[in-house]
């Protein structure tokens, strides 16, 4: 079938790739753009390992064709922080042992990032419900929840200090 040019803004950079319509966004991100942080876990939109942010939405990129993302603004885990300046969520996941094998982590942090944009003061219940589209097999979530709540508190404190 016809390859199409897909233009996207990924982590703030304009990208153009050539893709067959059936190429899933996750594979294009991982293999054509070298952003291998998000992973393929279940392929049926249940596990959330492939979560990225698209136009302000948390999206399972294994259940979206790259062509559907034409014109979209995409943020992946690689766009959240830099090695010298980690995102608060990344810091808190490290601090509170919010990860083990690391396979779900990029999707989890990306999802948590959006969650905190929409709800900067979540309760534990809000966090648990908010990340319920992301499966972790290692941690039992307890420390993930702790990491996200702690990141929220830190972000809020920083916001307050700035005011």
């Amino acid at each position: 079938m016809t390859n199409q040019i897909v233009k996207m803004t990924v982590n703030g950079e304009k990208k153009e790739i050539l893709a067959e319509p059936r190429e899933l966004l996750i594979y294009v991100l991982r293999e054509k753009l070298g952003l291998s942080g998000a992973h393929v876990g279940c392929e049926t939109s249940h596990c959330g390992a492939c979560t990225v942010e698209i136009d302000g939405k948390s999206v399972k990129s294994c259940t979206m064709f790259a062509v559907q993302a034409e014109g979209a603004k995409i943020t992946t885990i690689e766009g959240l922080g830099t090695p010298d300046n980690l995102h608060v969520l990344q810091e808190n996941f490290k601090e509170h042992h919010g990860l083990q094998c690391g396979y779900c982590t990029p999707g989890m942090i990306t999802r948590a990032h959006r969650l905190l944009q929409e709800n900067p003061n979540p309760t534990e219940e809000d966090v648990r419900f908010g990340i319920s589209g992301n499966i972790c097999r290692c941690t039992g979530y307890q420390n993930i929840v702790k990491s996200i709540l702690s990141a929220a508190a830190e972000l809020n404190a920083a916001k307050e200090a700035a005011q």
Partner: protein, 284 residues
């Protein structure tokens, strides 16, 4: 899990979408959120040589509430339904039900139009729309028509939607009623073992109207008129609820699956229905 190859179409208006549909007939399908269709394509259980993405059609999006009528564009996502303040006050049952669909990521993508149009008996919105007595607007090559949600579903994945038509919007009267959407599932992301939407209005301390619809308990969503009738005029006491549940159970025909056998589903359905009624009444 890789889909078969297909051509991708992304029309910017409805006429464009309809013309692609007309051109390719059975070989074309529209895609909304894609979270039902894409997995089916990946499993190669759905073959779609021409995929028509509706996301650029502005007219299919948005929620308007005017003169007591709610109009929701088919491409409105569950996430947008949940976060729309006006809709929350106009018809709060939608908020309650939409939060019980799938998981956050799926709700960002999943649309009300896709949920009602694909005819999956496990989807929550069809039963809810029957409960609300909503109308679906279908546009096709021969023009526009309206079909009641209560008359839309024929069998699993079989609906009134004709080849060449697109479901474009959903309308219903804003309901100031006691409401509840009750759903039992095994985990987040699962379909319902049993689910039930209830709307009750009150006249004094009696039930004035009652609308009771169920999800995933037959091969189509089921509105039980008899169950509603059993409540009308009562004070929604235990006996009335029991009668309504008995009537509702007469109208469903669940099948065994991994969630359990029929006997279990019938029992749980009864419990879920009675809880939904009680909760709706408490809010009436």
């Amino acid at each position: 899990m890789i889909t078969a190859a297909f051509e991708y179409h992304r029309p910017s208006d409805l006429a464009g979408a309809l013309s692609v549909l007309e051109e390719h007939g059975d070989d074309a399908r529209v895609i909304a959120g894609g979270h039902s269709l894409i997995p089916m394509m990946k499993l190669r259980m759905a073959e779609v040589p021409h995929l028509i993405d509706l996301q650029d059609i502005a007219g299919l999006k948005g929620i308007t509430i005017e003169g007591g009528m709610v109009t929701i564009g088919a491409m409105t996502t569950q996430h947008e339904l949940i976060n729309n303040e006006a809709l929350l006050s106009a018809t709060p049952i939608i908020h309650e039900a939409a939060l019980q669909i799938a998981d956050p990521q799926v709700r960002y993508m999943g649309t009300i139009g896709g949920n009602v149009a694909n005819g999956d008996p496990a989807n929550d919105m069809p039963g809810l729309m029957q409960c609300l007595n909503a109308n679906f607007t279908l546009e096709g090559p021969d023009g526009t028509r309206s079909v009641k949600a209560r008359e839309f579903y024929e069998a699993a994945y079989m609906t009134e939607l004709e080849d060449g038509e697109i479901l474009t919007q959903i309308t219903f009267s804003a309901v100031n009623a006691g409401y509840a959407y009750e759903k039992q599932k095994r985990k987040i992301g699962d379909y319902a073992t049993a689910a039930c939407g209830v709307l009750i209005t009150k006249d004094g301390d009696k039930v004035a109207t009652a609308s009771i619809a169920m999800t995933n308990l037959s091969d189509v969503p089921v509105l039980s008129e008899a169950a509603g009738a059993a409540l009308v005029g009562t004070s929604c006491d235990a006996a009335a609820i029991k009668a309504a549940v008995a009537a509702a159970l007469e109208d469903i025909d669940p099948t065994e699956d991994n969630r359990g056998p029929v006997e279990f589903k019938m029992h749980v359905a009864g419990i879920i229905i009675s809880r939904a009624i009680a909760r709706a009444w408490s809010r009436a």
